[in-house]
């Protein structure tokens, strides 16, 4: 009897374990099936490198290069803002802050992670966007820069909490060893703790960026959604994610537009996959 129970539980867990992989494979297959159909209308090169995204003109022009650039620019901007601030914040929390402030800050960071993206987008729209417009004297504040700033806020909690974990798990002995050689606190942080925690910190950055590149709602609300190749960070852009979200509702099922949106999904899937795998590689390097 106990053996049977053991057996059932064993198999049940096995099935649950398989289920996650099974669903990923199903999703990928479904995406591919719908996405590959687009290549009946447009070659892969024209799709990825085409400069015009006019999906409902006649004939439809399905080049997603402006969208890729849009996503990359917003992500890069968010990375440039959030990485230094996030790492500095993690160092402050794990090394400098007295314990009272430390707990307070950690709670604050978690709260930041809990804000729904649509709320962040909304706040960005009514506060940040007019501000960007005024400071740079632009015709519109709905720009890649605004998107980058808001996304930086979304990446920060991930970066801070994982980087802080990485710093915390550096053996205490390293720190004492550096101090015993006469290192100042900053020298210890900069030359011992950060290098020792580097793989965890890189993973933190990767996961933060992964979150940014997949983010949809906030960017759709504040980047202006113009599908043109951006030449500066102060113009409206449209990202891959926002395109799918904005257009899926109106695309005719089975049209080339519909298939193109699925193909965008595949591109996003591949980008996130690469980022997550590289984050994983760095995390495992640590252990």
């Amino acid at each position: 009897m106990r053996k049977l129970k053991e057996f059932i539980i064993d198999k049940l867990i096995f099935i649950c374990g398989l289920a996650s992989i099974f669903f990923v494979i199903l999703i990928f297959l479904f995406l591919s099936k719908e996405a590959l159909a687009v290549f009946k209308y447009v070659s892969p090169v024209d799709f990825l490198a085409g400069k015009r995204w006019y999906p409902i003109s006649e004939p439809a022009q399905l080049g997603i290069l402006p969208l890729i650039f849009g996503s990359l620019m917003v992500t890069l901007g968010a990375a440039i803002i959030s990485i230094p601030i996030g790492i500095a914040c993690a160092v402050y929390i794990s090394e400098v802050a007295p314990s009272g402030i430390k707990e307070f800050l950690k709670a604050g960071i978690e709260l930041l992670a809990a804000i729904p993206s649509v709320v962040l987008g909304f706040i960005g729209m009514v506060t940040l966007v007019p501000w960007v417009k005024r400071i740079f004297g632009l015709p519109t504040g709905l720009t890649a820069l605004s998107g980058s700033i808001i996304l930086a806020f979304m990446a920060m909690p991930t970066i801070v909490s994982i980087a802080e974990d990485a710093l915390y798990s550096v053996p205490k002995n390293y720190k004492e060893g550096a101090f015993a050689l006469g290192a100042t606190h900053w020298q210890t942080i900069y030359r011992v703790l950060l290098p020792a925690a580097s793989s965890g910190i890189v993973a933190a950055v990767m996961l933060g960026i992964g979150r940014v590149i997949g983010e949809t709602m906030a960017v759709m609300m504040i980047t202006g959604n113009a599908a043109v190749i951006p030449h500066s960070i102060l113009v409206p852009v449209r990202t891959l994610t926002a395109t799918i979200a904005a257009e899926m509702g109106e695309a005719v099922v089975g049209s080339e537009h519909y298939f193109a949106l699925f193909a965008i999904g595949i591109v996003l899937f591949i980008i996130s996959f690469i980022i997550n795998v590289s984050a994983d590689l760095f995390l495992h390097k640590r252990s």
Partner: protein, 248 residues
């Protein structure tokens, strides 16, 4: 000449009193061994000498501890730790190459001239009896070395910043007898130029290398005398009991 003077030294970690009214003098160019069972305060005392205890939460001290006649609390802490180096129980190479491990402290204290750094690295590795074993592979990761070699690397790293005093905190606790004898050999050679304070759980090691030996028990200094006297004719019965292995 006297290096360290402790007068009525008391320390606490939170509510726990780790040292009780310790009076001790450490002379220049001697090896002072400190023996005692665990929790006797010997490591806490050692970590007073380079103020590493300051890192522990809830640390307080009372009494006086002087280094070269100066109040240790008034000396710049980084300068103090440069002059008073420390070798830890577990060999603790940084995640760097052999060369960079030794050069680390040197560079940190502002020495940038490459030839000077190289010369110091070579000299320190020779003093720690490691040079011949590593001279052909200085750019290999320090983790590739054996435990005993890593410990001598840590000694070299400490020597490279040119300290006056070296504190050894149970430096051979994780080492085999042959590595241990190499570390002890290095210590005896270093005595000429440095003051050495050795905390050890190995009573025989204290007998082999110490000029004088101090016995700590429950945070008190029970007895301090020449090593010969401590091991042949100790004044206190508890010392006698400990070195004969009756408790510990």
């Amino acid at each position: 000449m006297v290096k360290f003077v402790a007068k009525d030294l008391n320390i606490w970690f939170g509510q726990v009193r780790a040292l009780k009214n310790v009076d001790i003098e450490i002379k220049a160019n001697e090896i002072l061994s400190i023996i005692g069972p665990s929790n006797s305060g010997k490591t806490s005392f050692l970590r007073m000498l380079n103020r590493l205890n300051d890192l522990s939460p809830g640390f307080r001290m009372g009494g006086w501890l002087g280094f070269d006649g100066e109040d240790i609390r008034k000396i710049d802490i980084c300068g103090l730790r440069k002059r008073v180096g420390m070798v830890f129980a577990l060999p603790l190479p940084l995640p760097l190459s052999i060369f960079e491990n030794v050069a680390y402290g040197v560079k940190m204290h502002g020495e940038r001239r490459r030839p000077k750094v190289c010369a110091l690295v070579e000299h320190s590795l020779k003093q720690a009896y490691l040079w011949d074993e590593v001279k052909d592979r200085l750019d290999v990761s320090a983790f590739k070395l054996s435990g005993g070699q890593q410990q001598r690397l840590c000694i070299a790293r400490t020597l490279a910043v040119e300290p006056e005093v070296i504190l050894f905190d149970e430096p051979c606790s994780g080492l085999d007898p042959i590595s241990t004898s190499k570390v002890e050999e290095a210590m005896l050679k270093l005595k000429k130029d440095y003051t050495i304070v050795l905390v050890t759980n190995n009573v025989k090691q204290a007998a082999r290398v110490g000029d004088r030996t101090a016995f700590f028990l429950s945070g008190e200094l029970v007895e301090l005398d020449s090593t010969e006297k401590i091991f042949t004719n100790p004044a206190d019965r508890r010392t006698d009991g400990y070195i004969r292995g009756e408790f510990g």
